[in-house]
């Protein structure tokens, strides 16, 4: 229980810290902020665990795990899993086009949204859709694709990610042999 308690505290600090850091961060690689927050939380947990008493001064004796190693690993595992959920939720809540529609509809009150308006929210009228404005520069900077003339070319790292992605899609039966037959 000590591990879980410390993990809960570490996660609370992680969530507050990443929220504050994101307000100050000016780039568009937010994953670095999340990973740094997780590393700091994990380190804090690992440092706090051996230097605090087994009952943390308030845990009942009946709730203590006798195997310290198991308690430590369990807390760290739970911290990692909860962090992963938080990370995914943060990206989904802030960047997902689906969530964007729900947030927009909430702001509109009783007014609904047409398909054309939903498309306009994602920059359909712009030369480069919002979903590409965010992704293409990152893929180029990461060495996954390159821009040659008027076209983009897949590079070996991108090919490996594509192969892994295609494998995972086959596992869940979401693979598509024809381009565009299943939406992104």
């Amino acid at each position: 229980m000590k591990g879980l308690t410390l993990a809960a505290l570490a996660f609370l600090l992680l969530a507050i810290g990443s929220a504050l850091a994101l307000r100050l961060y000016r780039g568009n690689k937010e994953f670095k902020v999340f990973l740094a927050a997780f590393a700091a939380a994990g380190l804090g947990y690992a440092v706090a665990f051996p230097v605090t008493p087994p009952d943390l001064g308030f845990l009942p004796a009946g709730w203590l795990e006798p195997a310290t190693g198991v308690d430590f690993v369990n807390g760290l595992l739970v911290l990692a899993l909860v962090f992963h959920g938080f990370w995914c939720f943060a990206y989904f809540a802030c960047l997902s086009p689906s969530m964007g529609v729900m947030v927009e509809l909430r702001a509109r009150g009783h007014r609904g949204i047409s398909v054309a308006e939903a498309l306009a929210m994602q920059g359909r009228e712009e030369p480069v859709n919002l979903i590409f404005q965010r992704r293409l520069p990152k893929l180029i900077a990461g060495g996954y694709i390159s821009k040659e003339g008027g076209a983009y070319r897949l590079l070996p790292p991108g090919e490996r990610v594509a192969a892994l992605g295609a494998f995972l899609k086959r596992l869940i039966n979401a693979d598509t042999p024809l381009a565009g037959s299943r939406p992104c």
């Binding site: 899993l81 802030c94 939903a118 979903i131 070319r153 594509a162 992605g165």
Partner: protein
Amino acid sequence: MLKGMVLAWVLVWAWALLQGIVFQLRAPEKAFASMVTWFAPIPVAYVVLHRLTPADLGILPERFVGGPTALSLLNGLALLILLFLTGVLFYYHADRSITVRLLIEMARAPQQRMSLAEMQAVCGVEVLMHDRLRTMAMNGFLEERDGVYHLAPKGRVGGLAGAIARRALAMKAL
């Protein structure tokens, strides 16, 4: 506590295997509902196994055995649910990632090259939004009336959660 952790890991892998077979046999329209349905008996199986099996599961070293049984049971149950949710998220990583989809389309394109127009045709906002609106309506987040989408009660909760998260986290679309 380790007994509960081991049972949770074994059962979540058993569920993942079963779910993989279900997806292979027939890809469901409502993937999340399918995953919840097939996972539903697993926590029950976990509690039954935790009560019926010996404290060391016949394999655990003695130094890892002991401690409060209720803590082991509850901790394992919480871990089981967290592992399930992580599995669900991995499903969505594989199924919904726009970036991965784009790279797959490029890998399949002639000479692995695509123009921006070709990318937007197969993976652009038109394709994406039509699918997302349809999926949200199918899953009860939106209601379509006369070609206009409105928030359903479930969507209102989602919209509220999204609005709070966007305010708290301040991540930019660009």
